[in-house]
Amino acid sequence: MSADATNYYDRKGILGALGRDGLLQVILIANTILMLAPIVIMVFSAFKTTPQIFQSPFGIPDFTQVQNFVKIWNETNFLRYLLNSFVVTAASMVLILTLGTMAAYALGRYAFSGASFILMFFIAGLTLPLKLAIIPLFMLMRDLSILNNQLSLIFVYTAMGLPSTIFIMTGFIRTLPNELEDAARMDGASEARIMWSIMLPLVRPAMVIAGIQNVVPIWNDFFFPLVFIQNDNLKTLPQGLTTFMGEYTTDWGVLFSGLTLSAAPIIIIYIVLSRQFIAGMTSGAIK
């Protein structure tokens, strides 16, 4: 290859790279604007009166105008919904992580007959779309007399969260070294004590991943409350939002502030913990 040719290729490479990177940067910036604009408009509109929203939907509002939020605070069940979502999500997460760790520990740490079958059984639950079993679930909740009771949600979410949690944590627990455990066993520590004081502190990273993967869908779920919960005082946030949006159809300022308030907790946590969120929520899809 002659020097000229090399030079030519080099030059074209640099120009090409600049043009290509420029195009990619434009795509990214345009996309980011598209992603953020709806959220920015939502937050801005939350501080406007309805006529202001109609007149200048993109204008920057006076952020000291909080009458929409005051209205939500005073006139709606919003706080109740928020509290309910918090209770249901927290209870489900405690159950998922406790039961999930128990099963994963047994499957990952002990060799016993049937272990691989049990793991298969759990993993099968990962792929089944439970929405389609809503009729039998409804009947089951009725038979357990927990329809219109948040226990119904907590139980379903726990069962739904267990397969992915067990899958993630069994894989992780298997990779932990045996030495610590064996040493403790020599010293006569009980199996429960070994699990609690020696192994559990080591599995925390896997718990975080499994926790985030489950907490977002549970916090956001709408379908199961729609079927199981009728009583307004028991509704979770996404479900309560439908009641709320139906009541204030013409008051756009209040509608946007309701949406903003509902979105705020998860957006704030996401911004703080974006790395963990992205890792957790895509962990099921990345080998």
């Binding site: 959220i39 109609f54 059984f121 079993a133 939002l241 979105a263 899809a285």
Partner: protein, 306 residues
């Protein structure tokens, strides 16, 4: 003495494994098996009547008006799947490729593209419903401001645009997911391979189609399968934006809505039929399971092990 220790450990394993097993058995496996059984019975409200064999399946597939409802909803699901394949997965691949180059600001762009994914679907649905409002929604206001008045229309109010508008909202909501899965796939491509490619060709197109695309095949398999399952389970967005009846005129009706409406009734008719609903659930379930298995095995076959 060893014998005693073994039983002790066996008991300990049982204590650990039985509670989680019971949850999954009672709230996942048992309902799914029951869903199959329910479909073979006649139901009146919450009461199970006679065994009717395949009659419920026959009704939803061949008896009017169920037949046209089933076909219409199924057809819409297919449209949703292919549209999202382009808007969500296609765009996701391009965005992943752009993010992969680690240009200035890549970290910020990555956080921004995933932000809508963490929002509740219900928030997204209401937000876009307000945006699509014929008079005051930002979509039409923007079109009028830039002189495209003729393009402004009642997006959710007419059959020709309603489903498409909801699909766009869905793509906005979820495009970050395939983007970051593809990105993770690209980041796993060994740099030696990329260096070797750089020696061979300078064409970006060849690089993408012949190297990057085949090497992110495992990501593609997962993203395609998840989109397929998601598209045929689609419920929340059409429920809020189109309504339980898939208005206007069934143009936004999908299998998820149709199944829910058949099982639990809607406001206007108040009818509920667990038998027909279960038959629909079983058909959707089998369809999803078979096609998802085919997609997965076909796509797995083209994956390259590094």
């Amino acid at each position: 003495m060893p014998q005693f220790r073994m039983t002790g450990r066996g008991l300990w394993i049982t204590v650990l494994i039985v509670p989680p097993l019971a949850f999954v058995a009672l709230f996942i496996v048992y309902p799914i098996i029951s869903a199959f059984a329910y479909a073979f019975f006649d139901w009146q409200g919450l009461k199970r009547l006679d065994f009717v064999g395949l009659e419920n399946f026959h009704t939803v597939l061949f008896v009017e008006p169920y037949r046209s409802w089933t076909i219409n909803a199924f057809k819409n699901n297919i449209i949703v799947f292919f549209a999202l394949m382009v808007l969500q997965n296609g765009l996701g691949f391009i965005l992943a490729y752009a993010l992969w180059r680690e240009l200035p600001g890549a970290r910020f762009h990555r956080i921004a593209v995933f932000l809508p994914v963490v929002l509740s679907t219900i928030i997204v649905a209401y937000l876009f419903k307000l945006f699509y409002h014929p008079l005051f929604g930002v979509v039409n206001v923007t079109l009028k401001n830039i002189g495209l008045d003729w393009l402004a229309q009642p997006w959710l109010g007419q059959s020709s645009t309603a489903l498409g508008s909801i699909i766009v909202a869905q793509a906005w909501h979820m495009v970050g997911f395939p983007t970051l899965v593809f990105l993770a796939g690209m980041q796993r491509i060994p740099s030696e391979i990329l260096d070797a490619v750089r020696m061979e060709t300078e064409s970006e197109w060849v690089k993408i189609t012949k190297v990057v695309w085949p090497l992110v095949a495992p990501s593609a398999t997962i993203v395609f399968t998840l989109l397929f399952v998601g598209a045929f389970n689609w419920f929340e967005l059409p429920y809020i934006m189109g309504g339980l009846d898939g208005s206007p005129f069934g143009s936004t009706d999908v299998l998820g809505l149709y199944f829910y409406r058949t099982a639990f009734g809607n406001v206007s008719s108040g009818q509920q039929d667990f038998g027909l609903g279960s038959a629909l659930a079983v058909l959707i379930f089998i369809f999803i399971a078979v096609i998802a298995a085919v997609i997965t095995t076909r796509l797995r076959a083209r994956e390259i092990q590094l």
